[in-house]
Symmetry: C2
Subunit: 426 residues, 2 copies
């Protein structure tokens, strides 16, 4: 947890080389492993205070809270990124996320007119336009439709945006923290569209939020009928206010802004609406002067979450487990390869089961650090065969003026003292 803790053991106490070499070789730990003598002990330490006293009972926290020792595990924002905290983003502390799910308290926020507090008793969803039978639904009515629960990631189109020109934010939280993953529960959008009856000319769908920004985006009908969800549940409870309480859209695998929050209106039309959010924003200006529009998919991406700038190697040379997350808006992650020499050579990482479609996927690789500087990378390949590109490769297409769609390979530079830096290789 801290260097201080390791210090009390009179040495690093890390699992020693001999054991870890065998682990690397066999992938399992059998008997007879060797460990640094300093971690050997035959008796427990003296009872600390909490082992000799009564704690508080079950009455004081009807809704649970994290430990007081976890106060640094929080979302953070970058003061210079936008002009107002009401049209801003706070980043997921990925360095504190142990598995594929993002705690609701950690899940990144992005909104354009602040975080509204919507009364679910008053909230309505209108479905209209090129439909046979328009609908105005209360939450009660909506929740009577057949529902599903699915685990998917959400990633902002601008995740990694500040890194386009150069590596600058020395932080996993800020380079990759506009992503999260949750179990979403709600009604398939296809069910609702079936209920209203889409006319033959209906090829596009406008989705609109109830916040002050009235955030709205156009979506092709094919995606709406495929896997989109209108959800009220997230990771075991109702949506949080910043995630669209009481109702949001989930467009699996597509950039976060189209998963409109505080969803209040779905209109079926014949053509896209070309709203401000898909013309003035969320487009990519190319070096040629032309701009890409309707670039929806989060292409395959990965990053090592341990080590990272916030979680350096604190115990010197020896065994560590490299850990990371990978995801693809096209489906499942097929493989992740990890390099410790800046991309010269790669080793296949283990993927944590279950590997779910359009969800964060956890990967691990046992590793023995020799204590010298290294360049760590991970590279994801998804089930379509798409391989996560390097930043140089991406810049050939996108230039350096982009804000969106940076899914490049991340390089962490580990120095001899165990500290970790965000660098880019030419």
């Amino acid at each position: 947890m801290t260097q201080e803790a390791a210090g009390t053991e009179e040495g690093s106490g890390a699992p020693a080389m001999a054991s870890r070499r065998r682990l690397l070789r066999t992938g399992v730990v059998a008997g007879g492993a060797m460990l640094a003598a300093s971690a050997r002990a035959a008796s427990p330490p003296d009872d600390p205070m909490w082992s000799r006293t009564l704690g508080p009972g079950v009455a004081d926290r009807p809704y649970g809270q994290p430990s007081q020792y976890e106060k640094d595990a929080i979302r953070r924002y970058v003061p210079w990124l936008t002009q107002s905290t009401q049209s801003d983003v706070s980043f997921t502390p990925l360095q504190d996320q142990p598995g594929i799910l993002t705690a609701n308290g950690f899940f990144y926020e992005r909104y354009h007119s602040g975080r509204p507090s919507v009364d679910p008793a008053q909230h309505r969803l209108l479905i209209h336009g090129l439909v046979d039978r328009p609908l105005l639904l209360s939450m009660d009515q909506l929740q009577r439709f057949p529902s599903v629960a699915r685990i998917h990631f959400l990633e902002c189109a601008a995740n990694g945006g500040p890194e386009w020109p150069a590596a600058q934010l020395n932080s996993l939280q800020f380079t990759h923290g506009m992503v999260g993953c949750a179990e979403w529960v709600g009604v398939p959008l296809s069910t609702l569209l079936g209920e209203v009856g889409v006319k033959k000319e209906g090829k596009w769908v406008l989705v609109e939020g109830a916040d002050g920004a009235h955030m709205d985006r156009s979506l092709p009908i094919e995606k709406c009928l495929d896997d989109c969800l209108v959800v009220w549940g997230q990771n075991g409870e109702a949506l949080r206010p910043e995630q669209g309480f009481p109702l949001r859209l989930i467009v699996p695998g597509w950039q976060g802004n189209v998963s409109v929050k505080w969803l209040r209106r779905i209109e079926v039309g014949a053509t896209p609406w070309y709203t401000r959010e898909e013309t003035g924003k969320y487009t990519e200006l190319l070096p040629s002067g032309k701009a890409l529009g309707f670039t929806w998919v989060n292409e395959a991406k990965s990053v090592l979450t341990f080590p990272c700038p916030e979680k350096p190697l604190t115990s010197g040379a020896g065994f560590y487990e490299l850990r990371g997350l990978a995801w693809s808006g096209r489906g499942k992650i097929r493989q992740v390869d990890v390099s410790t020499d800046g991309g010269v050579s790669y080793t296949r990482a283990a993927l944590q089961e279950p590997v779910l479609t359009k969800a964060l996927t956890r990967f691990t690789l046992p590793w023995r650090w020799d204590g010298k500087p290294v360049l760590l990378q991970s590279r994801a390949t998804d089930e379509t065969g798409y391989v996560q590109p390097g930043i140089a490769e991406l810049r050939k297409v996108m230039g350096t003026g982009s804000v969106y769609l940076n899914n490049s390979i991340q390089t962490w530079q580990v120095l001899a003292d165990g500290s970790v830096n965000n660098v880019q290789l030419s």
Copy 2:
């Protein structure tokens, strides 16, 4: 959300019969569905306040919180259940859990000496006894071992205990809320036992907590080498204090008390320790006067979470989706059957994918309520072929004096007004 909300629609607005009959028949909604005319509308309601104003920005809640409208979605305790809130249980609000995961803020609490606040920098795990190389590990050292993430349920042995003599608590939260499900992240116990080297005579393992109760239980070495985990992560963040922060054991599929929290000691021995918690408590006194001991497994169980006493049918006759959760300590759920006539006939429910081993499994069944009183039940079958028993069947073996192991079929009585009661059929 509330009856009031539906009321503003000038009628129930529920999806009408014709549509739902087709849904029941085909399982999908195609075009041309019929809906009550009252829910039809062509224009949105007037903008509410939150659509005309700015909300707060990203700076005020670095750790997220639920909506102010969700203040009734909380854990609750039964004042008469134990003599002190420090040796008590608070129940998961299952009626507010939309999917298979239990929000960390909802996850039931059970402890014997209050909720300790353990400093992770001072916490140590001792592994000793019949081993070749005893170990004393800091959290830092422990977190360097190869780790896994797995989704498993936890259920207290006493879940449903008050219902042994008769149905009495008219609440899903209190009849079934000593269960939860989370993604746990940590080190396989087999890895740690491999590291210390278990001697040939080592057949049992004592696990002990750092709380004031020093909660301890004996476990057979086979289970420890199978699927037990020593975890620090839960649903995307560190363990909560009431869940054992910074370190707990997870014994998948076995009653919650053996998944010792605030884990500080693992001792390998030749025989069980017969601790207070496995002799005076957590045993089952049979009508014969003999008691069962070391009854570890949570056998297959299920319950309808909608409707339930807390979530009645508020919109009158018509279409509803019956929803519930099933689980088994023996592995995966194979099927769930739902009855609307008190167990005379059953219909197979749909299971939500992915169905994970020793995890909560979500099931659903489309249903048209005719507005008359009904008796709803669900019955789980796991992959071993074990079928969840009725309460009468269970009492033939266990009598009515038991506290633990009540995995019987739950009956919800729905009255004509839509209210739901906890009843038992003879």
